[in-house]
């Protein structure tokens, strides 16, 4: 559906994108995960036509996206990082302005506006100026403005930055509903929790390079170890340290012993059985599952939040 081929983009002193290639298939919820400055928004800006790539091409349904092929943009819905709305106008006025650029009759546009306002639960506040909305409401309207023309693909560029957890969950739910209804979604984020929760397939981007891509399981499988066992330090566990070291690599922090089990202990049930065997109670044990954060750390040597 959306094919990104060998995109290179350089700014004055920055190689923002270095030969980036991706394919997003119809109906996918595709995540682009990377730290700030990795090149996510630059790639998004090139897809929507805000920036031009130095080289490479992007095609949608085998049609090359270019500044001259603007009718192709009707198939995109873009949810920007910022609240991209005219704050002094009402939700209804904003949606009318944006809807006018698509081929709706006046009645169709009104119906569409009502429909998307219903979806983002802002129907009751549609006549209020957007500047009076809460941050979460603005974000929901931001999403609504991208859905007016029923786009084939929704391009979400970190749409939940600075949003409270409740509104974030509401947006996630809406996106899930849309994806289940068949909408293709490309979602950039630097929150690995979002990527894990929402995306069926992911690419990890760092310093303008795609360093890994696949399903969440594919990416986790890139790690040598999957889970880490944290054991609360007590006098008793200290005495069992030698036995723990037989199970895998053990490191110590102030309050915990951290065990990365050997390959033979990769099943949790085995680990718990062995811990019980050596006399460590379950209440002192915590399993830390491998996350995309670990994948990123493993691939780059840095944390996603660095």
């Amino acid at each position: 559906m959306l094919r990104i081929s060998h995109i290179i983009k350089n700014f004055e002193n920055v190689n923002a994108l270095q030969n980036v290639s991706l394919t997003i298939n119809k109906g996918e919820f595709f995540g682009l995960l990377g730290p700030n400055g990795a090149g996510k928004s630059t790639l998004m800006n090139i897809i929507i036509g805000y920036l031009e790539a130095d080289s490479g091409q992007i095609s949608f349904n085998d049609q090359i996206i270019s500044s001259s092929n603007i009718s192709l943009r009707k198939k995109f819905g873009y949810v920007p990082q910022e609240v991209s709305l005219y704050l002094e106008l009402s939700a209804h006025q904003n949606l009318r302005i944006f809807g006018k650029f698509y081929d709706f009759s006046a009645k169709e546009l009104e119906n569409k506006i009502e429909e998307v306002l219903e979806l983002v639960q802002l129907k009751d506040r549609k006549k209020d100026p957007v500047k009076e909305y809460s941050g979460g409401m603005k974000r929901r309207l931001n999403l609504a403005a991208s859905l007016l023309h029923d786009p084939e693909i929704l391009l979400c560029d970190e749409p939940t930055v600075g949003v409270d957890p409740q509104s974030r969950n509401a947006i996630f739910d809406m996106l899930n509903v849309l994806n289940k209804a068949g909408k293709t979604i490309l979602y950039t984020t630097h929150y690995m929790e979002e990527a894990e929760r929402l995306c069926s397939r992911l690419a990890i981007i760092d310093n303008g390079n795609i360093i890994a891509q696949g399903s969440l399981i594919d990416l986790i499988n890139l790690l040598n170890q999957k889970d880490t066992i944290k054991i609360q330090k007590t006098t008793f566990t200290q005495n069992k340290l030698a036995l723990l070291k037989d199970m895998g690599r053990v490191s110590e922090s102030d309050f915990y012993l951290e065990l990365i089990p050997k390959e033979s202990y990769d099943r949790n049930s085995k680990i718990f059985a062995k811990l019980e065997e050596i006399g460590i109670q379950n209440e002192f044990v915590q399993i830390s599952r491998a996350t995309l954060e670990d994948v990123f750390l493993n691939l780059t040597g840095r944390s996603l939040r660095d």
Binding site: N45, I48, G49, Y50, L51, E52, S67, I70, S71, R73, K74, F76, Y78, P80, Q81, E82, V83, S84, L85, Y86, L87, F98, F101, Y102, A145, L155
Partner: protein, 439 residues
């Protein structure tokens, strides 16, 4: 104390990193000081001279004297010739051509010394002064300097003028007999030759007239009855509110530039707020957005100017409807040029605050140089040349042509052409930059 020191240093650093604040604090006032300093002669350099057209049709030596004094005036610059329509010949002005030049606004004032300026029987010299008081201060300066130059020279001719006055009153034979009699008395008491005495009283000594040694200042006041100073206002006689009619265009233009630059640079606001990006993701081209800004700003500019002129008409009686068609043409051309100025600022700036700083500087300088605040003739010669490179100048002159002179389209054609050329060239440049995504 240490904390205060660090806080002060922090504020200084923040200030120095805010280019707009630095420009507004130092550069703008410095430039305005330079301009005003030159106007009021503070720099000690050559001050701007008011241009005056001089026609000397008299063969009299007195006329020659006045011409030379006007030529060397520190406040006036005399213009005596013009290039003929064939572009080759240089012709001397005559009275009719001089009047036409004043009437059409090519010059503010003309002095004509006619053939009968000072004949053998004249008891007063005759000077014609034609003027266009479109800039009242300039007009007063010209008249003041002209009269000062004339009256300071008149005392040297006082004896001859007074005798001619006496001859007119007594009859020339009686006056002649009286003077001859005076010659005899002078001969009798002082041993002076009667003929020589008579000649001194009745002939003009051109050498002494051109000498600069005579102190004449105390005699100036009584001279006015020896000069027939016929002044005629050729333009703007029917203007009900001349002061505002002259200045409304200038102020309107300055605020138009501010508001339209704001409208054009709102592209930056749209970029910062993200709406520009959203629009560009829609089936809209960059050119569409630029044109929409242009048309919106044009409409805003035209409405703003119209509102200002209508306001001036309602409250101050500035006559705008007698030449309304041409006023509309100048409004459209001025708005087009002002919008293009905004587009230029937008295209050369990287941020909204940078655009704001640059535009404030340029608008204030253009307003000062272009005649919004005072007549450009007050400026030194080199500044007057720069003045013609500002769109304020062409716009101001256009409004004056329409409101003050009630010119036909031919009278405003050059102004309109220049303003529209500025608009087309700048917009072409801005469009290229916008298409390339530079804005």
């Amino acid at each position: 104390m240490k904390n205060i020191y660090h806080l002060v240093i922090k504020d200084i650093n923040r200030f120095l990193n805010d280019r707009r604040a630095v420009i507004l604090t130092f550069i703008v006032p410095i430039i305005l000081i330079i301009i005003f300093g030159n106007i009021f002669g503070g720099s000690g350099g050559v001050r701007g001279k008011a241009e005056i057209l001089l026609v000397n049709e008299s063969k009299s030596v007195v006329a020659k004297l006045l011409e030379s004094k006007l030529d060397s005036s520190k406040a006036l610059r005399t213009v005596k010739t013009y290039t003929a329509e064939n572009g080759k010949d240089t012709l001397m002005f005559d009275e009719e051509t001089a009047k036409e030049w004043v009437r059409t606004g090519r010059i503010s004032a003309a002095v004509v010394m006619p053939k009968d300026f000072f004949t053998d029987t004249s008891s007063a010299i005759k000077i014609k002064f034609y003027y266009d008081p479109k800039n009242e201060i300039e007009s007063n300066i010209i008249q003041g300097n002209l009269q000062q130059t004339i009256f300071t020279q008149i005392p040297r001719m006082m004896p001859i003028l007074m005798q001619r006055k006496a001859a007119n009153y007594l009859g020339s034979d009686s006056a002649k007999r009286f003077l001859k009699g005076m010659g005899k008395i002078a001969h009798e008491y002082f041993g002076v030759s009667p003929d020589s005495f008579y000649n001194r009283l009745t002939r003009i000594d051109s050498a002494s007239l051109f000498s600069s040694s005579a102190d004449t200042s105390s005699e100036t006041n009584i001279m006015s009855n020896l000069v027939r100073f016929d002044s005629e206002q050729l333009v703007g006689k029917k203007i009900t509110n001349p002061g505002l009619t002259r200045s409304v265009g200038g102020w309107a233009m300055m605020f138009l530039l501010f508001s339209l630059t704001g409208a054009a640079t709102s592209i930056f606001e749209e970029r910062n707020e993200g709406t520009l990006k959203r629009l560009l993701c829609m089936p809209i081209t960059r050119s569409d957005i630029l044109w929409s800004k242009y048309i919106y700003s044009m409409l805003l500019g035209m409405i703003q100017l119209l509102v200002m002129f209508v306001f001036a008409w309602v409250f101050f009686g500035v006559e705008i409807f007698s030449n309304f068609g041409n006023l509309l043409i100048v409004i459209i051309a001025s708005a087009a040029a002002a919008v293009s100025f905004g587009m230029l600022i937008t295209s050369i700036s990287k941020t909204y605050s940078q655009a704001n700083g640059i535009s404030t500087l340029l608008i204030l300088v253009m307003s000062a140089l272009g005649g919004s605040w005072f007549p450009t003739s007050f400026l030194p010669g080199w500044m007057q040349v720069i003045s013609k490179g500002t769109l304020t100048y062409w716009s101001m002159e256009g409004f004056l042509q329409v409101l003050w002179r009630h010119s036909s389209f031919a009278g405003i054609a050059l102004n309109v052409l220049v303003l529209l050329s500025i608009a087309v060239l700048i917009n072409f440049y801005a469009l290229i930059r916008f298409r390339r995504g530079i804005i």
